[in-house]
C-alpha cells in the first residue's frame, strides 16, 4: 500500500516536474555554467574561464549604470505604488457616491498590457506636440524632450509604472480593510485619537501583512518587467533608462554576446534569490499579526 502511494505520488507530479525542470531548473544550472565559459565559435570551442565574464562585467561602466538604474527604478516605483495603493483603498473603502466607478478607474490600468500602457504614455511624453508639453505651454513654460533627456527619462518611466500597478495593489488593501473590526476605530475615536494617529498607530500596523505581500510583488515587478522599454526608450538615451533584464536581452539577442548575457542573468538570479530569502524572513515575522 505504501509503495503504491509512493508510485502514485511520483506519477502525479511527474508531468509538472518535467516541465519545471526543463524550463526553470535546468536553465538556472545552464546559466551558471555558461557564465563560467568563454564565447565559443565554429573553430574555437568555448573554454572554461572561471570568473572572467564577471570581471568583465565589473569593469563595464554600463553594467553598473544599468544596475543603478534598476535599483533607482525599484526605489522610485515601489514605495510610491504602495503609498498610492493604500491611499486609493482608504479613499474608496468608505461609502461615497460613485464608489464602484472610482474603484474601476483605479484598477483599469492593471488590466492593460504594459505595451499598450507604454503606447498611451508615449504620446504624453512626445516633445512639443505631446500632452505634457502642451499643458506646460499653456502656462508659458518651455517643453522638453522628456524621454530623450537622461535626467527625466527614468522618472517618466517610473510615473507610468506607478500608474499601471497602484490599482492592483489597492485591491489587496481594500480586502484587508474590510476585515478590520469597526470597534477598533470606535475605540480610537473614544480615546481621542485623530485620523492620522489612528492610521499610524492602529491601521498601518494592522495592514503590515498586506504591505509585505505587496512589497515583495512590487520589487519582483521592478526586476522582471521591462516591456515598456521596447516602446518608450529602448534603454536610451545612452543607457539612461536601461534595466537589467533589458540589458540581458540586448546582450543575447542584439549583441550576440552569450557569455555576458549568462553572467548578467546570474546576477539577476542572485538578486531574486536574495529577494526570496528576504520574503521568507518577512513571512516568519508576519505570524505575529495572526
Amino acid at each position: 500500500m505504501r509503495i503504491r502511494d509512493w508510485a502514485t505520488g511520483y506519477l502525479l507530479i511527474l508531468p509538472a516536474a518535467a516541465v519545471l525542470a526543463a524550463f526553470t531548473h535546468l536553465p538556472i544550472v545552464r546559466t551558471v555554467r555558461d557564465s563560467l565559459f568563454s564565447r565559443g565559435s565554429a573553430i574555437r570551442p568555448a573554454r572554461f574561464v572561471g570568473l572572467d565574464n564577471f570581471e568583465a562585467l565589473a569593469a563595464d561602466p554600463v553594467f553598473w549604470k544599468v544596475l543603478g538604474n534598476n535599483l533607482a527604478f525599484a526605489l522610485g516605483t515601489v514605495p510610491a505604488s504602495i503609498a498610492l495603493a493604500l491611499a486609493m483603498a482608504l479613499l474608496v473603502d468608505r461609502k461615497l457616491k460613485g464608489q464602484g466607478v472610482l474603484r474601476l478607474a483605479y484598477f483599469l490600468p492593471t488590466m492593460l498590457p504594459m505595451i499598450a500602457a507604454a503606447n498611451l504614455w508615449l504620446f504624453f511624453y512626445t516633445p512639443d506636440i505631446g500632452l505634457l508639453d502642451q499643458i506646460l505651454g499653456r502656462f508659458g513654460l518651455p517643453g522638453r524632450n522628456w524621454l530623450g533627456d537622461p535626467a527625466t527619462v527614468l522618472p517618466c518611466l517610473m510615473t507610468m509604472t506607478v500608474w499601471k500597478e497602484a490599482g492592483f495593489f489597492m485591491i489587496f488593501y481594500l480586502a484587508a480593510l474590510q476585515t478590520q473590526p469597526p470597534e477598533l476605530k470606535e475605540a480610537a475615536r473614544l480615546e481621542g485619537a485623530g485620523r492620522w494617529v489612528y492610521f499610524r498607530r492602529v491601521l498601518f500596523p494592522m495592514l503590515m501583512p498586506t504591505t509585505m505581500f505587496v512589497l515583495i510583488n512590487a520589487v519582483l515587478n521592478a526586476f522582471k518587467l521591462v516591456d515598456h522599454l521596447f516602446v518608450l526608450t529602448k534603454g536610451g538615451p545612452n543607457n539612461a533608462s536601461n534595466l537589467l533584464l533589458y540589458y540581458i536581452f540586448e546582450h543575447a539577442f542584439a549583441f550576440n554576446d552569450l557569455p555576458a548575457a549568462a553572467a548578467l542573468t546570474a546576477v539577476l538570479l542572485a538578486l531574486l534569490a536574495g529577494l526570496a530569502v528576504t520574503q521568507f524572513a518577512l513571512l516568519d515575522r508576519r505570524v505575529h499579526y495572526r
Binding site: 535546468l26 492593460l112 485591491i171 516591456d227 536581452f249 531574486l272
Partner: protein, 266 residues
Amino acid sequence: MSRALDTVAAWVLGALWIAPLVYALWAAVHPEAYAARFDLAAPLTFENFARAWAQAPFPRYILNTFVLVTAILAAQLVLCTLAAYGFARFAFPGRDTLFMLVLVQLMIVPEVLIVENYATMARLGLVDTILGIGLPYMASAFGIFLLRQTFKSIPKELDDAARIEGCGALGLLARVYVPLARPTLVAYALVSISHHWNNFLWPLIVTNSPEVRPITVGLAIFGAPESGVSWPLVSAATLISVTPLLLAFLIFQRQFVQSFLHAGIK
C-alpha cells in the same frame, strides 16, 4: 469637512487615472488634426480603426493570443491539478524537497531565463510556434501552490468514503477534489488568462512571423516609432488590442477582482 476633501481627492485621482485611456479614445475617434486639440465640435470618425485594422493582421494576432492563452490554461489546469493532488495527499520520499524546488519558480519566473529557454526552444525546433511560446508556462509553481492549499483543506473523511465505494486515486481526484476546488480553479484561470493575454517579452523573443505572433507583439511592432504610424492609428490599434480582455473584465469584474484576491492572499 475632511470627508468632502476626501471625496474631492478620490475623484481627482480617479480622473487622473482614467485620463490616459480617455485620451486614447479621443485620439482614436477623431481625425489626426484633432489628436492634440480638444474641440468638442471635432468631427467623429471610425476611420482610424478601419485603417489600423487593414494595415496589420489584428484578427490573426487576436486569434493567436486566444489559442495561446487557451492552450496554456488547459495544460496548466491539468498539470497543476495532478501535481497539487500528489503533493497534498500522497506521502513519498523527498516530497518536501521536491515541493521546495517547485516553489523556486515563484521567484525565478520564466521571463528571467529567456536566454537559456530560447536555446532550448531552438534545440526542440519550437522557435516561432505557439507551443514554443506557451511551453515554459505550462507548469506553474503558483498554480500548484494554490491548488495544494485548497486540496489540503478538503476533509480526508471524504476520501475514505469514496475509497470504500471503490474509487481509485484519479477517480477520487475527478469526483471529489476537482469539484470542491472549483472556486480556486476559476480564480487561477482568470489570473492566468489576464497574465498571458498581456505577456510580451518571451513571445517577442520566440516568435518572428505574423502567423504565430500574439497581439502584444503585433501591437508593439505596429506602434514602433520607427514604423512612422500616426498617433490616432496607434491609439486605435491599442484600443483594438486591449478590448477583448477589457470587455471580459468589465462583464466579470467581480469575479476577476475576487480571483486576484483569492490568488494573492492564499
